[in-house]
Symmetry: C2
Subunit: 256 residues, 2 copies
């Protein structure tokens, strides 16, 4: 049995955790949601690296065997620093495996990536695709995370925002949801773009983690930690994702 550490700024990473638990039954998980400082997607490299290393240090203190960076912004801006701190442990980010999956899925070589402002501005996806002959287009969608955090995952205003952000799409046949909050918007995005292939970065990362670890017999435990009051955290985890939260602690990150 392995213990897998997972972190995100808040509820987005729960979409990744849910995929991991499905594909890695019998393993233990430690989830940290940094909801005292959510969102990460509009913060700078320096700040993201600082927050990500604090999260990594916390997960390492729980003796995890693997770290899954369940946030595209942290993956884009801090993966090297996280790997260095985790010295030798496998660290899975959201970018490499989803880029590989998108390249396998596209039939016309035109792929779009949407994400937070910081993820898109980092150029991490663009750099990864530059090693292929794919034509990649990108767009930051700063209001998608707030809509998810506000629980507005189906609303006429969201449909207008989806049109605002996604009407740039032309020949792309594949769309990477480059933020772990966006799977909550999958139904609304599918309605706007019924033909496009959608790549969920958490699903791609969970497949990779499952290849590395394989299933385990027995019953796995998931411990949840948050840095602020879990307002909508439990509600979304249980009602939207079917997770059962029996073991949740709120941390005093002021002491970090």
């Amino acid at each position: 049995m392995s213990k897998i550490g997972v972190f995100d700024s808040g509820i987005g990473g729960l979409t990744v955790l849910s995929q991991l638990i499905n594909r890695l039954p019998g393993h233990d998980f430690v989830y940290f949601g940094d909801n005292a400082r959510v969102p990460y997607g509009n913060k700078s490299e320096r700040v993201i690296q600082h927050y990500s290393l604090q999260a990594t240090k916390f997960l390492l203190s729980h003796n995890v065997d693997m770290i899954v960076v369940a946030c595209n912004t942290a993956s884009a801006l801090a993966i090297n620093q996280i790997k260095e701190m985790a010295s030798g442990l496998p660290v899975i980010g959201m970018i490499n495996s989803s880029v590989s999956d998108a390249i396998k899925i596209t039939t016309n070589g035109n792929i779009a990536v949407i994400g937070t402002e910081s993820t898109i501005a980092s150029g991490a996806y663009q750099n990864k695709f530059s090693m292929s002959n794919i034509k990649v287009t990108t767009k930051s969608c700063p209001l998608f995370v707030p809509f998810v955090e506000a629980g507005m995952i189906s609303h006429p205003a969201l449909d207008l925002i989806i049109d605002e952000y996604l009407n740039f799409l032309k020949d792309e046949d594949t769309l990477i949801l480059g933020c772990t909050h966006y799977p909550f918007l999958k139904t609304s995005i599918k309605k706007y773009l019924p033909e496009i292939n959608i790549v969920d970065t958490g699903e791609s990362a969970a497949k990779l983690a499952a290849q590395l670890l394989g299933p385990n017999n027995g019953i796995g435990i998931t411990e949840y930690f948050v840095s602020d009051t879990p307002n909508n955290f439990i509600n979304i985890a249980e009602n939207e994702l079917g997770l059962k939260i029996t073991n949740l602690q709120q941390l005093n990150i002021e002491e970090w």
Copy 2:
């Protein structure tokens, strides 16, 4: 000449600063925008108090003579702690002066307050009005701050969100914009509610500060400090509010 310290989680407090500078010419200002941890409005009391006291300590280190808490959430949840730390200095929050103004303005005694989730949940406005015979209704509007932060202050999707949040209004003739981000939405809110009296909490607070200090001859200086890259900070300050930013420093709050 006095030096006035002003803080907020980011750009919202600039609407207050702009009112203060207009009404207190010749004084110096120190503005701190905590954009590494924006927004405050979805955080808990413990976290807001911690962030607010860090900001207060920073302003006190600049030898300010007065502190203006240019954030309704910090005013609602941390004003007592801020006053205690500022021991004796005048501290002006966003709530008391706007409640007084709203009571003066209403003709039918029905007042509505909109704000962030944490401001409304705190009950601070409700408590303040309970000392009057006003009928007060409140509503949290969690997507308004993200729309402002994304620069979407005029958009059909915003109009739908305004309807979603404000269609509860019935007999109220006066509306307090209980968040310093909301003045950026004044035009769109006025379009939806052309008849209602709008109270801008920053304006109310600036009037009070001007009564306490009075104008000063000479030329005042404003120093700006932010805790993260000032992405849209300068753009909004200069283009939306007509402020001139010549003196801005980015702080390493990791060292706080």
